[in-house]
Symmetry: D2
Subunit: 149 residues, 4 copies
């Protein structure tokens, strides 16, 4: 693997910035970028009232969404456009209103067009609340012009 030097990091940051600019869904859910690098990303999010389900815990789809955003940023961090093909999520502890969730993701396998990306979601007490594994594949196009970087 190419070591994550300053150029790789700058490229990951530029690609992520471009994606987030257009990502209405992640913004609407209040997700914040903590850090991003080649093959690595961290986001956090506070659980709001309008994210609760009928059992008064956070809707599984919201937890999935946070992990999916991190997965997307990792998958696209090399500047090549990539999309999710499938994902598995395991919910390991309930999530409540006002919990602060942190999702940390990295590329676990795949040097070609297909990648496997793992994301762990923890709460403010550092308890693991979800494990997410996504399979992504590259499509045509890049996010930023690398020559002009």
């Amino acid at each position: 693997m190419i070591p994550s030097d300053s150029t790789a990091r700058a490229l990951a940051e530029a690609a992520t910035a471009r994606m987030l600019e257009a990502d209405e869904a992640s913004r609407a859910m209040g997700m914040n970028l903590v850090t991003v690098d080649r093959d690595h990303a961290v986001f956090d999010m506070r659980v709001r009232e309008d994210m609760l389900n009928g059992l008064n815990t956070c809707h599984g789809g919201i937890v999935f969404s946070l992990a999916d955003t991190v997965c997307a940023m990792v998958a696209n961090s090399r500047n090549q456009k990539s999309v999710l093909q499938s994902a598995t999520v395991t919910l390991t502890a309930p999530v409540h209103k006002d919990d602060i969730l942190t999702a940390t993701g990295h590329r676990s396998a795949g040097e070609g067009r297909v990648a496997v990306i793992d994301v762990t979601v923890t709460n403010q007490k550092d308890e693991t609340v979800a494990l997410f594994r996504g399979s992504t594949y590259e499509i045509r196009g890049t996010h930023v012009d690398q020559a002009g970087d």
Copy 2:
């Protein structure tokens, strides 16, 4: 399997109504109940601007959320409280702004405390856009008082 007669259906409808009342997340995403019965549920939803990701298609977490809500309603349709343990989603076609998604779910296996629930999500052209499979397990408590039914 117990045949779905009018009592089973009424119980499923009552449990679902009680869950939806408290389900802020599903409401915020604009999900509509189409029909529910014992071990079966259908919801639909229009894809809004604030549901798009950085590639200008619907965020995978939103599609997952719709399927997860249907899964929850199927799992809880016998009136016993149930929660999701894990789920796998496969995204089979991109989803765009203003698409109308319909998610149809049923119990595929499990007569005990654990159930497997399959949900298929289609768009207004009846194309399958996602396949969701969830594993749920029962917890203590019921949604409505069955004696008083």
Copy 3:
């Protein structure tokens, strides 16, 4: 979808025969082809003593193997070589020595290079013992020469 006429079926049968010829693993486990058609396949298998695990039930990997073989035959039934990328299996009932397992698979989604294939495994009492969902993708090459068919 192209209707499964006699040509499509003959092609599926020829591709399957070619694959089974070389499939040492499926033969060693005693899997039998029941039927195959375009996007559809059925195999059965008897659970032997040497397939049991430390809890005296059938090893999950053996049940997975049967479903995986069916998935492979469905994925390759159009004559284009295809391989498994990922799969999820849910074990819904224990499997015992001398059980006769039947695995029935079909293509659930995917008209392009990627397909989703569902396989249901039942026992001789028609109880569902496992649900398998595989994601496959096409690689270069065909199994039989279609022009010469």
Copy 4:
């Protein structure tokens, strides 16, 4: 988590020995125990001729079986009987005849009756060939008598 001291390790070794004694399937596939400890296990296996599929690579079910055995040993390493509920496997590189596979597993989440166990399978060149994630749950009974230990 309880630190893995000599007592925990001895218990894991005793439970594993008891399971392997009865595990005809793992023996038939030639799996070897490398090491086991509380919440951790490593096995290896050589890919034989009778493990190849119709594309002349190792059958996915065999790779799954190795990972599943490791998952079982991790899940049962606290001496409480546990079984697999569901698992997802992603095949990241092809496996060939005479490859030596090493599967390394650990408990990723779950302190109660349900656990999530991750297994990574590598070949003799230390390339990752598969990622496996299993959900297990405890059933009644222990493998060895702890009082007499």
